[in-house]
């Protein structure tokens, strides 16, 4: 029987965000918006969902006078991503 794919990660934008964060220490909102090509509103909603699930940490601060939102993947997020990729392999080898 195939493992189920995590529904939280099985969405284009959320998967893109997690895939970026898996390889870095942190990335800010502007960078994630540029890389994913998402709108600010949509990206905010998806980041909020990932944050509520405990997959990422969100830190709000300032650089000079500019506000900055910094996103980091959590250990729980790393495990979820790993399980998602393993489940994905099963589907592809099916």
């Amino acid at each position: 029987m195939l493992s189920p794919l995590d529904p939280l990660l099985h969405s284009e934008l959320r998967l893109a965000v997690i895939s970026i964060l898996i390889g870095v220490e942190s990335a800010d909102f502007v960078y994630l918006k540029e890389r994913t090509g998402a709108t600010s509103g949509n990206l905010s909603v998806q980041i909020d969902k990932l944050c509520k699930a405990g997959y990422i940490d969100v830190e709000k601060g300032f650089v000079g006078r500019k506000p900055r939102t910094l996103c980091k993947i959590t250990e729980q997020g790393r495990i979820a991503f790993k399980l998602y990729v393993e489940a994905l392999k099963e589907y592809i080898n099916m």
Binding site: L5, A16, Y31, V63
Partner: protein, 204 residues
Amino acid sequence: MNGQKSLEIISQMIADTSVQIENNSGKYFLAWGYTTIAVSIFEYFVMTLSLNPLFIWAWWLIPVVGSCATLLLIRKEEAHPKSYIDRSISAVWAVFGVSTLFAFVAALAYGVPMFYLIVMLMGMGTIITGAICRHRNLTYSGVIAMLLSLIFPIKHIVVKNMEADTLHTSSEWVIYSDIIIFAVIFLVMMVIPGHIMCHKRTNR
């Protein structure tokens, strides 16, 4: 979304990010290198022309101006992901920066050879940074700087022997030429590799 599409997203995002996380230390090397050279040239002229020992305090312009320039560059930095490389390099320079300040204070208080110690410490920081972000030019320039730092003790021995032979003290030019050597070493250690790093990044 099917499995194939998921894989495409994952591989594309990881590939894009790995290009972006290349470290951009070049501009920081330029800021510190040019600051050190400018302050050294200023020091050389005021020390040789005025011979006022109080001007030794002008060396503090290097950490003050260098830190301000670093803060400005951080503020102007484009949005890019922070990697473990960035964190490692920041930690390296925090340690070497504080050590250099301590070396400078020790030099003022005890007459420890300031230029030699500072070049050695900065050279080590440069070599480690080059190794972390895989910039060979930076590693080589750090090694060259450390080798060039040997000029200071060698010059000291040569000048002492000459003074002992001739029973004359050296001229100001000989005494203060250390400052010019110091500036030249910073040109080799920070400015040249800094320009190479920035040039490579712009061309990419």
